[in-house]
Structures are given as C-alpha cells and as structure tokens.
Symmetry: C2
Subunit: 127 residues, 2 copies
C-alpha cells in the first residue's frame, strides 16, 4: 500500500512550488532546505512514483536530464536551441492526435508530449 510519508509530501510540495521545470537535482536541492537528511535516491524514487500516479508530470526534453512539472493542465514545451531555456506552450491539448495514432496503429494512447525547438525571442536579437 502507498504510504503517506513526510518525504513524499515535501517532494510533492517542492515540485508544485517550483515553476521552471526542475530536474531531479533541482528538486533535491530544494527539499534539502526543508528536510536536511533526505537522500537523492528518495527524491528520484518519489518523483517517478508521483509521476506514475499522475500527481506530477515527467517532461522529457532534448539534451537535458529528466524534468518534472506539477502543472496539472496538460501543456506543451518550447526549447531554445541556443540558450537551452524551456518555455511552456499553452495551446490546448490536442486529443485528436491521440485518436489518430490509436486508430492508425492499434496503440492504446494515454497521452502525448510536443516539444518545439528553435530560438527564443531573446536569442533572436542581434543575429
């Protein structure tokens, strides 16, 4: 049975507070402030468990360690190829894509992620 530990609550809370798609390492640094003895393995384990339960979302981005995101409404991402910064892209989830993929191939599609790549406004200046 899934136990409700203070470590888990701290980790979940930290991810919900953090806004910039933190990596496991970022979350580790953050939770250390609240609970000094928490270990890195516990952070990894709980992040993955929380993601599996749907409490938070795992975001996979190019050239980056795995990131996490507590924002509940599904959204997409943009990654600047120059500075590496990641931005949210709110354009509404496109359920039609899931259905199309499911119909074409017989998959059971749970969801999808879209990652745009290019140049962010700041990095477009002076080119």
């Amino acid at each position: 049975m899934k136990r409700d530990t203070i470590q888990r609550r701290i980790i979940a809370g930290a991810v919900r507070r953090m806004r910039r798609h933190p990596t496991a390492e970022d979350v580790y640094v953050e939770v250390q402030k609240e609970h000094h003895s928490i270990s890195k393995a516990t952070v990894y384990r709980n992040l993955h468990e929380l993601a599996e339960e749907g409490e938070i979302r795992a975001v996979f981005l190019p050239d980056s360690p795995e990131r996490f995101d507590a924002r509940t409404p599904h959204h997409y991402h943009f990654r600047c190829r120059r500075c590496g910064e990641v931005f949210d892209v709110d354009m509404g989830y496109l359920p039609g894509l899931d259905k199309a993929a499911a119909d074409m191939y017989g998959f059971r599609v749970d969801d999808h992620d879209i990652v745009f790549q290019g140049r962010c406004p700041a990095c477009q200046e002076g080119e």
Copy 2:
C-alpha cells in the same frame, strides 16, 4: 573546414541502414563491424555533428538515452510504457503547430517532435 573522413562516412551509413532508432551505443557496435578501431567518442562526436547538419535526426525519448534516426521525412513517435519499444508514427508533419507557437510567443520555431505514450498492441493482450 569540414573534412570528409571514412569514420564519418561509416557512421552516417550505419545510421541510415539501422531502422530501430539506434542509440549512440547501438551505432558504436554497428560501426565496429566495419572499422574495428573506431572509438566511442568519435561516434558521439559525429552523430551530433551529423544531426546538427541535418543529415540525421536526434530523437529524444522518455527513459532512454539519446537516439538517432536517418529517416528524412519528419515523423512522430510512440513509446510503449510497458515494454519500452519505440514505434514510428506517420501521420504527416503538422506545420500549423509551429506557426501557432511562433505567433503566440514570438519564438522562431524550427520544428517540433511529438511523442505519444501508452500501450503497444502486444502489451495490451491479457490485461
């Protein structure tokens, strides 16, 4: 100036031959058959260079090391959450998405990737 080395040709050729989104490691094993003394660093280096030049495509997938793909027409991917297998999803590139993201946020969008997740047909049996 960009030099045309036999290592680069062998690596590019191997990726073009391989169909299952090989990882850098997979490519390394493959090119070893042709050129025994090729080093892993050379494989990594060339894969990234080839990707940057647009000769091949880098594919970033959840819970997986970086993968590469020589298929020229852009396509999407599906990953089975159970067995981890990756499938191509050919549903036609959706340029409208790039434009929408660009217009909303002022990005210069080069392209996007979509990764669907769920269960593949084989893993749906006996559930």
